[in-house]
């Protein structure tokens, strides 16, 4: 995480500095909480949004990372770090059309950056803008003649257009530059297939499969083409079988995601009908299909909480927090679960985190006040209820709790 020094209000800077310290100590959970507090304090703190995005991206939570980056871009639309990171996340998800406007801004903001030009070129190529793609790839190569993504990208673009004489030297150079990157060998092998140069294609594709392409179905599809061109029917069949196996694996995974979405829809219907147990059953099935979905875990926690299955609810809420530790709602729910199971110490800890992450939610402070009362911490409880009332002046329950705490 590379963050420049910047001007910031002292109280907000304190949270941010704490976040940085935790980050350097590799305590990412605490770092996230501190960075969240910093953006609560000063929502225009671009660096804090970037830091949040960085931590989420590191943890593989692209959705949260992207949300943080888009917030950063709302504040500073030409922020190079945010533009680059957000466009990369879009590209990783195959959302080229969303990456395109970001990359177009990025190349004007960093006209001498070969990777910005190459990324833009790749998006143009995916969208069928052959002319734009070639121009941007060539610009990237002017800036850095041995830039692997641009060499491979331009070579691939030209090979697909049938301009093999120009394409092959580029692809060969790419594989020489990064001999251990499977992508270069794969692209070179594919181009050689198109040219009917099957012996060399087979060598390159075998290499690609050994250098990291062993789980990529397309590598085996091309390999099958090469074997076919060489008249090796047995080897071709084996490559196609491997291709089919890997394709099936990909398809099954996509099918599971769809299944999860359908089960969530069903659960929603049961919830609306008040059939909580059936809804929970569907959500549990959906979780099996999509185990890394924090929102799903949160929903399951909520449902089990409503059904007073506190142990199960705690498990789901904790799992949701481990995936997305700076979401205040998850801590709040865990606090409520602990409170209902009379584990007051744990309840207090969770609600305090929720309050820190989201200092504008009256119900959080009210729940915290109730826990503090039960623990006999009267003065702290009065302070919590008082804040709850200030945040939600129309909530009579909060006011009643405040009065009761003041006049025990």
């Amino acid at each position: 995480m590379a963050l420049a020094l910047f001007q910031v209000a002292p109280e907000c800077g304190k949270s941010f500095a704490a976040g940085l310290e935790q980050y350097h100590n590799k305590d990412f959970r605490q770092a996230l909480i501190a960075f969240r507090a910093a953006v609560q304090c000063d929502p225009t703190l671009v660096q804090a949004h970037l830091a949040i995005a960085d931590i989420y991206a590191e943890r593989g939570n692209g959705g949260e990372a992207l949300a943080a980056l888009l917030q950063a871009l709302q504040i500073d639309p030409k922020n190079v770090l945010a533009l680059r990171a957000a466009s990369n996340l879009y590209l990783d998800s195959g959302l080229h059309i969303k990456a395109l406007p970001l990359l177009e801004v990025l190349v004007t903001a960093t006209p001498n950056s070969p990777d910005a030009h190459a990324d833009l070129a790749a998006v143009y190529a995916a969208g069928g803008n052959r002319e734009g793609a070639e121009k941007e790839f060539r610009r990237a190569l002017e800036l850095q003649p041995d830039y692997f993504p641009a060499l491979a990208g331009l070579g691939n673009l030209l090979a697909r257009a049938g301009e093999d004489a120009t394409a092959l030297p580029l692809l060969r150079k790419a594989t020489q530059l990064q001999p251990k990157a499977y992508q270069g060998h794969f692209l070179l092998g594919s181009a050689l297939n198109r040219l009917g140069q099957f012996p060399e294609a087979q060598t390159e594709l075998e290499l690609a499969s050994r250098l990291g392409g062993e789980s990529e179905p397309q590598v085996f599809y091309q390999l099958a083409r090469a074997w076919g061109g060489l008249g090796k029917a047995t080897e071709r069949r084996a490559a196609l079988a491997r291709f089919s196996e890997l394709t099936k694996k990909e398809k099954d995974s996509a099918e599971l995601q769809r299944k999860a979405a359908a089960l969530i829809d069903e659960a929603r219907g049961f919830l609306e009908a008040g059939e909580l147990a059936k809804a929970a059953e569907r959500l549990e099935l959906a979780r099996e299909a999509s185990p890394g979905d924090a929102t799903l875990l949160f929903r399951l926690a909520g449902l089990n909480f409503d059904m007073q299955h506190y142990d199960v609810a705690r498990e789901y809420a904790s799992a949701a927090i481990s995936i997305s530790p700076s979401t205040w709602l998850y801590h709040y729910l865990l606090g409520l679960i602990e409170k209902s199971s009379n584990r007051l110490g744990d309840a207090k800890a969770s609600l305090e985190i929720a309050a820190k992450l989201q200092p504008t939610e009256g119900p959080v402070f009210n729940a915290l006040g109730e826990v503090l009362i039960a623990q006999g911490e009267l003065q702290a409880a009065v302070a919590a209820f008082d804040k709850a009332v200030r945040l939600s002046p129309t909530e009579t329950l909060f006011r009643q709790n405040l009065d009761a705490a003041r006049h025990p």
Binding site: G127, G128, G162, R194, Q218, Y221
Partner: protein, 532 residues
């Protein structure tokens, strides 16, 4: 300019009524097919258009799509000559039932009159041509009502017994009750669901028993072993063994090639032959398909169009394998941003090389909201074939290519017998368009096959011509191919500056190989099958 717009002069008032609803039923996106057939035996090609049916936002408690109102009827137009047509639907009795999709044409009782099969959601129809301008609904007796969501269909004589068989592609395991909500929240961003949301289904194969009676052989033939998401169907003898094979264009699902095993069974070989995926091994949205020999090497090649951003797929038959050649042939670059449906290889300029036409238009009627670079309405595409390399010549091909439309089914044939192949395109939710091909200075030959021992239409016959220069061209008799549509049965060849064909050779489905020498150009040549 090769083409003029013949729509206004035709006086055809048909509109494909998709009956769009806020529920965004996927079937609303499909459009319908068109057929060119000589329904009344006067020697002129008439036109048949398939129509949708009335839908409601909530179809769960309805009896299905309602076709009772005339605005939803399928329509038959009689060719009066001079480019004009007359609506003869009611007299012919072909208004139809259900939400219509495709049409197939073939003489299933070998009486010399083309019969009509219409596919639809929840039940297909077969009409026997009675010869007096009237078609009789014989669906039930023929045993071809089917079910589910049928799309493209075609007549084929797969067992070479002289009786036409019938293949019907089916699309998705979908009905109104299982329609899902897809796209964004609210009515504006609600979108039609991707086919991945629904399971594939099996296609149907009916064996012709003669007299327009059929037996469902989907299971025993092996066709039902391979479910798909079929939209387009084309036939040809891909492996050159004298028996017709079947190609199904599947939407977002591997393409299928059913190889005829010559014993009543088929084997699905698209993957092993190289045509199941694009060149990267990825699935694409196959919609329209055609099989023909575009490079004049004697082997039928495969063209399958696709959705925008995928590029259309051209597979060259190298004898044993089908190689993806969209890039080097120029097809990939010319089609990357388009969405294709009705299609066919045909030699529009009679230069001796088969060109490509594609009716185009995106699936999503709100695509501009989510992908500003794409358009729901698109111009039709004409790719000119210069010795195996294709160039987009649409912009200079004439006025009908200049206005965008939501193109779907397309039928091909020489409507005015001038030796230049015309095209009729059906639009989703709009009037069709007639691409009238103006005669070129190049020579041509239109072969009208008449089977005797083989099926009467000669469907499945392979045709080879050799000109004085030694150039060869190849054709295959079929009314099928493209998307939901049926074409002129006659086989058309462009001859460039040649005055005659030195050798015309036909290999009939019966196995009889027959040849004619020194056949003059610029004529409709009736080729009658020898009795033995």
């Amino acid at each position: 300019m090769a083409f003029v717009d013949g729509t206004a002069a035709s006086k055809i008032g048909f509109i494909f009524n998709a009956s769009k609803t806020p529920a965004k039923y996927l079937i609303e996106t499909m459009g319908g097919g068109v057929a060119m057939l000589d329904a009344d035996g006067d020697g002129r090609l008439d036109l048949f258009f398939v129509n949708g049916a009335g839908l409601k936002s909530d179809m769960r408690n309805s009896r299905g799509a309602d076709k009772s109102s005339p605005e939803y009827w399928n329509r038959l137009y009689r060719n009066e000559g001079g480019g004009a047509f007359t609506d003869v639907t009611e007299k012919a009795g072909v208004q139809g039932r259900g939400y219509g999709q495709g049409v197939a044409v073939g003489d299933c009782d070998n009486d010399g009159r083309p019969d009509l099969f219409v596919s639809a959601l929840d039940g297909n129809m077969l009409y026997r041509n009675q010869g007096d301008g009237v078609f009789a609904d014989i669906t039930s007796a023929a045993g071809v009502a089917g079910g589910g969501w049928s799309t493209s269909a075609g007549f084929i004589d797969y067992d070479l017994d002289g009786n036409l068989d019938l293949f019907v592609a089916r699309y998705l395991d979908w009905d109104f009750g299982r329609n899902k909500r897809c796209g964004g929240q609210g009515t504006v961003l609600r979108a039609y669901c991707h086919p991945n949301e629904y399971r594939p289904v099996t296609h149907l194969l009916y064996r012709g028993l003669g007299g327009c009676r059929f037996q469902d052989v989907s299971e025993e033939s092996g066709i039902a072993k391979s479910p798909g998401k079929g939209l387009g169907v084309a036939f040809s003898d891909v492996d050159g063994d004298g028996w017709p094979d079947i190609f199904v264009a599947n939407d977002s699902f591997p393409q299928q090639l059913f190889r005829n095993l010559r014993d009543g069974k088929f084997e699905q070989v698209a993957l092993s032959m190289g045509a199941a995926y694009d060149e990267d091994g990825k699935v694409f949205a196959g919609m329209g398909v055609d099989l023909a020999d575009y490079d004049n090497d004697g082997l039928p090649d495969v063209f399958v169009n696709a959705l925008a951003n995928q590029g259309y797929a051209l597979f060259r038959n190298s004898g044993g394998l089908l190689d993806y050649v969209s890039g080097p042939s120029g097809v990939g670059a010319a089609t990357k941003l388009h969405s294709g449906w009705g299609t066919r290889f045909f030699d529009y300029d009679n230069d001796g090389w088969k060109d490509l036409f594609v009716a185009q238009g995106h699936v999503m009627d709100n695509i501009e909201l989510t992908q500003p670079g794409m358009r729901y309405k698109e111009r039709a595409l004409l790719l000119h074939n210069v010795r195996g390399k294709f160039t987009d010549v649409s912009a200079s091909a004439g006025t009908p290519f200049l206005t965008a439309m939501v193109g779907r089914g397309a039928a091909f044939g020489d409507i005015n017998d001038d030796g230049a192949v015309d095209v009729v395109v059906s639009a989703n939710g709009a009037a069709p368009r007639i691409f009238q091909n103006t005669a070129t200075r190049n020579s041509w030959l239109l072969i009208d096959p008449v089977g005797t021992k083989s099926n009467r239409d000669g469907i499945g016959a392979s045709v080879r011509i050799v000109t004085a220069s030694g150039a060869e061209q190849f054709g295959f008799v079929s009314t099928s191919g493209g998307y939901l549509s049926a074409h002129d049965r006659r086989v058309h060849f462009g001859l460039g500056h040649e005055r005659e064909v030195k050798l015309l050779e036909i290999r009939w489905p019966s196995g009889i190989v027959q040849s004619w020498k020194n056949v003059a150009a610029n004529q409709i040549f009736v080729a009658k099958e020898a009795t033995q």
